[in-house]
């Protein structure tokens, strides 16, 4: 791999467009309008074609105006079809953007004599060619696209900073926003304008697919990791930057491994963003699938451990002639668990010093007995409570579920309310100090 100044410019272009897209993207994802980004970035094609046909040049400005106008129109059309025709919104999007795309294709083919426009570069861009088209800024040759994207990014940042409160409220509670004098409908059109202009500014260099990817994927990744809008904006920005950097790295380092030179950078950036999303789906704190599994496992273990403590305590309560041995097997049978679960349970208890192992089997330590006594007390108090206050006929299984989720002060309160009973509904004494 050789890193040249070309690569630097490509990465900078990628970072700028990814950031510029990620900002409006957060709002699209939160408003459940993600596909609007997709619709708009496909639908700008006729705008481009018309701009070409009228001006006969690939002049950036006219192209930008044409595409941005059609982009905003797309949002309007979708709104019309949705409300006037009462067509469900996703279908309305599908109708409008495919129609405009088809129109754009026809315009391009009909006008092929006059303009040189490849629909392919609309879809997957030509970020590799960006560094070749430069303008001079203070004597430095800077790619035109970098300049344009910087302006776009600054505009987006400025827009969000200026209207942060308004965007926030109209995104999460449009009705409240209307009553507070912030017309949610106009906020929506402003946002659509931002989406359209960003899409147009970015897709010329990175292609509409990367535009869609950078609008949706970083925002969705961020949504998995935070519950705050500001946090979401920052995290999605970070994911966007990382996707751009690692995407280009992947595009120039991975193909040589299988004997090729390199591949499409924009495509790889989208793929890397997808990888970030996958990681977030699996490992995000609290919301990731694995984190949730882990939490469930912890809860299961806690319940199992408490059940074991309670069981051992109850066995100690009944006087027997010979001391009972609690071997692994008896524990597994009593708790209906497999050896692995049993191991996790006893190991955890042993580590906490609540359980000890002797040659004859497992037994409670003093500390363990104290914990167990509290659990059993909770259980029996619950039974009394359910029996007297809720008139539940079968109290045991319900109490069994409830005993794991109550804290000391609540227990005390319940005890007080029940007037410190001595026995539970089954006639078993409630253990006290």
């Amino acid at each position: 791999m050789t890193w040249t100044s070309l690569d630097t410019w490509i990465v900078i272009t990628g970072i700028l467009s990814a950031l510029a897209c990620a900002i409006p993207g957060c709002f699209l994802v939160l408003r459940k309008m993600s596909m609007m980004g997709d619709a708009i970035s496909h639908a700008v094609l006729p705008g481009l074609a018309l701009a070409f046909l009228f001006t006969h040049s690939r002049d950036s400005l006219s192209m930008f105006i044409g595409a941005a106008a059609v982009g905003v129109l797309t949002a309007l059309f979708i709104d019309w079809v949705n409300r006037l025709g009462r067509v469900e919104e996703s279908a309305a999007m599908g109708v409008v953007f495919t129609t405009l795309f088809a129109l754009g294709l026809i315009l391009i083919v009909r006008g092929a004599d006059h303009v040189d426009l490849d629909p392919g570069c609309v879809l997957y861009g030509a970020v590799e060619l960006v560094p070749l088209d430069t303008v001079s800024v203070a004597g430095w040759p800077v790619p035109r696209a970098v300049l344009k994207l910087s302006v776009m990014l600054l505009l987006n940042i400025g827009f969000v900073c200026a209207l942060y409160k308004e965007l926030l409220i109209s995104t999460f509670d449009p009705a409240l926003s209307d009553t507070q004098g912030i017309p949610s409908k106009w906020m929506n059109f402003l946002l659509m304008g931002m989406v359209a202009t960003t899409a147009v500014a970015a897709f010329e260099s990175v292609g509409s697919i990367l535009v869609i990817a950078m609008m949706i994927v970083p925002a969705a990744t961020a949504q998995l990791t935070t519950d705050r809008l500001s946090g979401m904006l920052w995290i999605s920005g970070a994911v966007a930057v990382a996707s751009a950097v690692f995407g280009h790295l992947a595009a120039i380092t991975l193909p040589p491994l299988v004997g090729f030179e390199d591949t499409n950078t924009a495509g790889m950036m989208a793929v890397v963003a997808g990888l970030f999303f996958t990681v977030a789906v699996l490992f995000a704190p609290r919301k990731g699938i694995l984190s949730r599994l882990l939490y469930q496992l912890e809860l299961t273990l806690k319940v199992l451990q408490e059940d074991l403590l309670g069981m051992l305590y109850r066995l100690e309560e009944t006087p027997t002639d010979s001391p009972e041995f609690h071997t692994e097997q008896t524990i597994e049978e009593a708790l209906l668990v497999n050896p692995f679960q049993r191991f996790l349970t006893t190991y955890g208890l042993k580590k906490k010093g609540l359980l000890k192992y002797s040659d004859s089997g497992w037994y409670l330590t003093d500390e363990g007995r104290e914990r167990a006594r509290k659990l059993v007390k909770t259980h029996r108090l619950w039974e009394v409570y359910l029996h007297t206050h809720l008139d539940t006929p079968h109290v045991h299984s319900t109490a069994h579920r409830l005993e794991h989720s109550i804290d000391e002060s609540q227990l005390h309160q319940m005890d007080q309310e029940l007037d410190y009973p001595d026995i539970d509904p089954h006639g078993t004494p409630i253990p006290r100090e």
Partner: protein, 448 residues
Amino acid sequence: MEALQDSGTWEQILRVVSLSDYNTRVVILGTTALGIACGLIGSFMLLRKRSLMADAVSHATLPGIAVAFMVMVAWGGSGKWLPGLLAGAALSGLLGMGLVLVIGKYTRIKEDAALGIVLSVFFGLGVSLLGLIQKMREGSAAGLESFIYGKTASMLTSDALLIGAVAALSIGVVVLLFKEFCLLCFDQDFAAAQGFPVGKLDVLLMTLVVLVTVIGLQAVGLILVIALLIIPPAAARFWTEKLLPLAVIAAAFGGLGGALGAALSAVVPKLPAGAVIVLTNSLFFVLSLIFGSARGVLVRFRQQYQLSRKVGRQHLMRALFECTEDEHREVVSFAELLACRSWTSSRLRSLLGRASRDGLIEGSADGVRLTSAGEEQASRIVRNHRLWELYLINYADIAPSHVDRDADRVEHVLDPATIRRLEELLKEEQKAAPKLSSPHPIERSASS
């Protein structure tokens, strides 16, 4: 349209329309079959609110095509064996669709974002893989790009046959499982409760979507096939409220759009067939939006207009009746009427004009009065209004001073059966007041 000025143009149109040209025949039959299948399957997607699923699926097929190409090249093939490419496309399309459903179900990400994620990441992967293929020595991957934009005009007989076969298959499945799919669309929980394998039916429907998408890829391209799945059903929706007619009309629109579009592009040079087919369908959509007999804009505007006319007439009749009710006079002046409700004088004048044309009122020197027909209608309207007011007072516990406005809104839509029930419910009150006078003082008589 310079082509149309050629002397041979009419001959060419004739050749296209009569399907005498072999190539054109293949293309037109192929696109027609594709349109029918897409319209049919798309109907169910529309009702399940999953129209944009087609978007994700069609984009998600690209990496499958690329991988299939690479695998076939690695095995020493040419890499362009169509069934292989399509199988790859179908597999990765299914995978993409499955991922959308999994993300939507197991994470807090909503379905719309899940669609966007799958479509962009899969397409990005596809583009990167195509980038690799272009650099392969066996490369000549130019053919693969045709999957993105389609190559309708160069459709081969075998392609058309494949499309026909898949179309026949999907029509067959839909005919056989119509009742099941219908349940799935309208009441999934009920279907499950009745013992239908909802999950499997869903997968089957999704598989059909992937199948028609994949055969459409080659014909009209990755993006325009979405249109064929979404636009005809959306257009058909304006004509009917029932599923069977919806599916039939959507299939007809799809087929017709396919045939017309392909024919048009065969007649006029430099019109890409895929795009023309989509635009033909869009035209159907716009026409349906305006003229549709069930939900079209014109029909709805007419209904609204008629309702507002009826409401206006009833308000006028009631105002006339109430003005003269307890006074022994028949003529009501214009100014008096104007004060009755918040209507403008021009609105009141047009209402009066219409009522007199209908023979309900007649003008006199200092105002208007009800004819005998008008009297009858007005007393019925007033009676309905007061019945409803009584009902609201007795049963809904609304203060007498507030019932007038509530009754005002409901009285126009009371049907005879409801009125009979109201009368039964309110028998006691009616006995007490045989003429059914207003339960509250009529405000304007005080002011006038």
